[in-house]
């Protein structure tokens, strides 16, 4: 299977990439890992005339603690995100979601930028970023703009990225003192297409009451879903007074899974319910153990 011909450039400078993208905007695509693009090009689903490979731009390849937030460069490989001690310790669900993507070899190839920008509701990182109130930094001809992950996913394979814009960084707010997170994905067999995935991200008050509760869902509808509703509702309650199952039920109400080869919509709702309970229980344990910094 061969993609149609195209031109290729791999600038090592971001400004250069932005200029090239502007120049060829009508038929150029940004490439980071290439895994999504190459498969789509082999099947002639897309036929870009120009690929701008940004994987050699050094400044986009870093993971760093910037005091108020975790900074993840767009070309960071998801394998690196999975392994990072900083991420594992303080942003556990991100590490878990990165480790849930595809297989070990593809994780060496797939980048954060590709996973975040495709807009596939089944991808693993977006729900976690939603649940943690992450922001995406986009660079273009007119400078940079910051957009909440929450407003980024518009529909199936549709995002708020504008022509000529490149995602350069994901920023995740520093997790509060007593906070915990978890991401759990269910597949029928290893590396199979997912049935559904649930991210839970919570923080507790000093006296143990819920301060913040947020969920993110994959495989649960047309787009990655941020389930905030239960968070607002249970804030101020003590975890012991609210059955985890009650919260999980409200998470499921946010989902509108589709029947497909992975199962019927009603089966998927049951799976989402179970995953929401599991993810919340785990996140709560982590928060109560002093958890993430």
């Amino acid at each position: 299977m061969y993609p149609p011909s195209f031109d290729y450039a791999a600038p090592d400078d971001l400004d250069e990439a932005i200029k090239l993208f502007e120049l060829h905007n009508d038929n150029a695509k940004i490439m980071t890992g290439g895994v999504g693009l190459i498969n789509a090009m082999k099947h002639h689903i897309i036929r870009p005339g120009f690929l701008i490979d940004i994987s050699r731009i050094r400044e986009l390849s870093l993971i760093g603690d910037h005091g108020g937030y975790l900074s993840i460069g767009a070309t960071v490989k998801v394998a690196e995100l999975q392994r990072s001690d900083l991420v594992k310790r303080n942003y556990t669900a991100i590490s878990e979601a990165a480790g849930a993507i595809a297989d070990p070899l593809l994780r060496n190839m797939i980048s954060v930028g590709g996973n975040v920008c495709t807009g596939n509701p089944d991808d693993d990182l977006p729900p976690v970023f939603l649940s943690m109130d992450a922001q995406y930094i986009l660079a273009g001809r007119n400078g940079r703009r910051v957009i909440d992950a929450d407003g980024f996913y518009l529909g199936h394979m549709s995002t708020a990225i504008r022509p000529g814009e490149i995602l350069v960084e994901v920023r995740v707010p520093r997790q509060a003192e007593r906070s915990g997170s978890a991401y759990i994905k269910r597949e029928l067999r290893q590396n199979d297409h997912l049935v559904a995935g649930v991210a839970a991200s919570i923080s507790l008050e000093e006296d143990g009451r819920y301060k913040r509760l947020a969920f993110g869902l994959s495989g649960s509808g047309n787009t990655s879903i941020h389930a905030r509703l239960p968070g607002a509702k249970f804030t101020g309650s003590r975890p012991i007074d609210v059955p985890v199952g009650d919260i999980a039920k409200m998470v499921v109400e946010e989902a509108s899974p589709l029947s497909d080869r992975q199962g019927s919509a009603s089966y998927k709702r049951k799976v989402i319910l179970a995953l929401a309970r599991e993810a919340l229980t785990l996140a709560l344990q982590r928060a109560e153990q002093g958890g993430q910094k």
């Binding site: 299977m1 061969y2 993609p3 149609p4 011909s5 195209f6 031109d7 290729y8 791999a10 290439g34 895994v35 190459i38 498969n39 090009m41 082999k42 690929l51 490979d53 994987s55 595809a102 297989d103 070990p104 070899l105 593809l106 060496n108 190839m109 290893q190 590396n191």
Partner: protein, 157 residues
């Protein structure tokens, strides 16, 4: 487009079309046919090679993406006639039947052992989960990797 890559320790300069897949560059242009194509859609791992020491699926990369980087294929593992300890272990433990998946399995295992010299069975099973084998049922492959990780007599590190 002109590219310059190091393949199995040898520098290669070539002029390739941007759409040329890395696996086809390796097989058709360099005539290193140990790297296989199974699915052509990123699933089976028959095409696994090391890129700067890291295992990747070469059917899902363009050769131009490997510009100025180091590639190791199955042909680059042995030292002349002296087999790599993974290759010896696969023979001794019957880690292959038809052999189609074997080059990819061994390249993935080489990467795995380079990060973790003594993986547990579970770490091995997870580590090779991007490589499919239609013949062996995997158990003999896992034994082969275990043997290579504990037995260093047969080859170099």
């Amino acid at each position: 487009m002109k590219i310059s890559v190091n393949v199995n320790g040898r520098n290669v300069d070539a002029d390739v079309e941007p759409r040329k897949l890395l696996v086809d560059f390796i097989r058709d242009d360099l005539h290193l046919t140990g790297t296989h194509v199974g699915c052509d859609t990123s699933s089976c791992g028959a095409c696994t090679v090391l890129l700067d020491g890291v295992a990747v699926k070469s059917c899902t990369m363009f050769a131009v993406q490997a510009n100025n980087r180091n590639i190791t294929t199955i042909e680059g593992l042995s030292k002349g006639d002296e087999l790599h300890r993974l290759q010896s272990a696969f023979i001794e433990e019957g880690g292959l039947q038809c052999g189609y998946c074997t080059p990819g399995m061994i390249m993935t295992s080489a990467w795995l052992l380079s990060n973790n010299a003594a993986p547990t069975e579970e770490e091995i099973r997870n580590g090779i989960s991007g490589n499919l084998c239609r013949c062996t049922g995997y158990d003999s492959i896992i034994r082969s990797i275990q043997k290579a990780s504990s037995d260093r007599r047969g080859g170099r590190k």
